[in-house]
Symmetry: C2
Subunit: 335 residues, 2 copies
DNA sequence: ATGAAAGCGCTAACAT
DNA sequence: ATGTTAGCGCTTTCAT
């Protein structure tokens, strides 16, 4: 019950100084005589005093806590971004409140509002589905928000990511050059910004360059998951498709295994390129040819950007999207 | 700068009531005349008032935030536990501060102390390496701590898990029955409670039952990771080992691929059983025979237990470990 | 270099 | 049913 009974006041009395001095010592303020500092430090140690971060947050209006929204913590793509975020956050002494936006009955908006209510100093949002209402919430937020590993069409919401359009184009062009006539595109919802304005245009650009007509039925929408990829294998084969660019690695792994289990040989009869380059891409057999991207860095850079925004308050320069370089690695799922 | 300028006081004034009444409305206290409630609610909506959780936390000494320690967010085992934790936490209106204990320079103890400083209402600890000093920290904590997916040898620290000793024994016995003379055990550090007091004894029990002499050089220690498993493949083959029980799925997947890449056929020439039954076990080819366990439930039950402990204060009944049922699923990595 | 005192925004007795 | 008031534990002017 007597949670945290030793307060700054206890220390002050015990050390014969005012709370202000104790506060200064705790916060590393230089205006304290060395002897006083040592005396206070000794008492702090003796009493095992630990500052109450909640009280500190209320008084200073800074919680040294950020909010991180993640659609699915068990998806390697987001987990690897989160690792980068957390490492840098730790480095800057921030904690992160992590919330699954896919969780039971909690819309992303509620989740974000709750984060703001907890007075987080900033938010990193992961996920592709950023509806207008959510963007509005971000815009009127009093703390900075950074989107990691995706993007919105609101120019005022900074993001850290790769060039998804160009990456998609490269992958699809590669598949086309191998003589595949029917190249599928497997993505999440077509209505998300990343798919509507980046991946689908990239896909179309590749087709155009190869003088292949766009066929809408070759675009597959499915939530990112192994199971969904697996299920689509038969459908694709039935349609005469011989290659696919899959944005999510779990889906790509599912597709691969679905094909293999249907006795379709990869890469001989079907080529796959995946988009995220998580560990999964090298665990499957055959391994997955992939667009490569520095996932950890995307998270880490997003967090770095957030720290800047949290201190600068209003530097519009910082709102530019940060585009990291992507690459391409041929593995066993392409010829 | 004017972060959260509308406070409970603003609402009170605007609605011509006292802050206490507003507080009652916000907290769903029944002692408010319906008309008053409506009036206040209207003002809240109009002003878009959102209670400041930090102030609330300071005044009430409850933050509705729990701390969750995870060794590696990109390891499916922990990620799936975390998913269960988060779902139940959300259900009970708790947020979770997630901290990677493997992160740069942050020992588990510091991480936990920081969590307490943030006044979390409880902690769920994941990870196998729980040294004495950390256990001491848990014991003197003023808020409850639950270990999920592992255990300590301190009877006063509740845990939610499966019977690792029995599970290991079953797996190893299975391998022995298939005529394997040299069965390896691949685990993390032998000094962790889970390995020292559960898995190794389970391994030994199986050997004893089959009248096979324990050979210490068949026990391999390596941090859970795909790479470590992969590297060990050659060593194991060189030693004439023909089967292994691997506690972690990433390591098992690595071992499997390492063997395959060395032209050792699984399961014909080498059998593998893995211990965690994450999604990885069905993604590899061949798929991995596995001890099955309800990972999501382990997390979910741990969180449920924590909520009980957080409200009951001191019910010693609740400190009993919760042992969930495990199973065994034969897949393609055993004959 | 140090202290006094006023909050931060809320909850929780205690009155009425 | 509603209001008054005293904190919660700290930071931060403002004095000295």
């Amino acid at each position: 019950m007597e949670k945290q009974s030793v307060t700054i006041y206890t220390v002050a009395r015990e050390a014969n100084v005012s709370m202000a001095t104790v506060s200064r010592v705790v916060n590393g303020n230089q205006n304290v005589k060395p002897e006083t500092r040592d005396k206070v430090l000794a008492v702090i140690k003796k009493l095992n005093y630990r500052p109450n971060a909640v009280a500190r947050g209320l008084a200073s209006k800074k919680t040294t806590t950020i909010g991180v929204v993640i659609p699915d913590i068990t998806n390697d793509y987001f987990a690897e971004l989160a690792l980068g975020i957390d490492d840098i956050a730790t480095m800057y002494k921030y904690n992160m409140i992590l919330t699954n936006s896919d969780a039971d009955g909690s819309s992303a908006i509620k989740v974000v509002q709750n984060l703001f209510a907890k007075q987080v100093d900033g938010v990193i949002f992961m996920g592709h589905d950023i509806e207008d209402q959510l963007q509005a919430e971000f815009s009127k937020a009093t703390v900075p928000v950074v989107v990691a590993g995706s993007l919105t069409n609101d120019k005022n919401i900074p993001s850290v990511r790769i060039d998804y359009e160009q990456a998609t184009k490269e992958a699809v062009s590669f598949l086309l050059k191998h003589g595949n006539k029917k190249v599928a595109l497997l993505i999440g919802s077509r209505e998300t910004t990343i798919n509507k304005f980046n991946r689908i245009p990239g896909y179309k650009a590749a087709l155009k360059q190869a003088h292949v007509k766009f066929n809408d039925s070759l675009v597959f929408e499915a939530d990112d998951s192994y199971e969904n990829g697996y299920k689509l294998a038969k459908q694709m084969v039935k349609k005469g498709i011989t290659a696919a660019f899959v944005s999510d690695d779990s889906s790509a792994a599912g597709l691969l295994n679905g094909l293999t289990d249907s006795n379709v040989k990869v890469p001989e009869d079907f080529e796959i390129i995946t988009g995220n380059d998580t560990k999964l891409a090298t665990i499957t057999r055959p391994t997955l040819t992939s667009i490569t991207q520095p996932l950890y860095d995307v998270g880490a850079v997003a967090m770095r950007l957030l720290t800047k925004l949290m201190s600068n308050d209003n530097d519009d320069e910082e709102k530019q999207p940060v585009i990291l370089q992507h690459g391409f690695e041929e593995r066993q799922s392409t010829r």
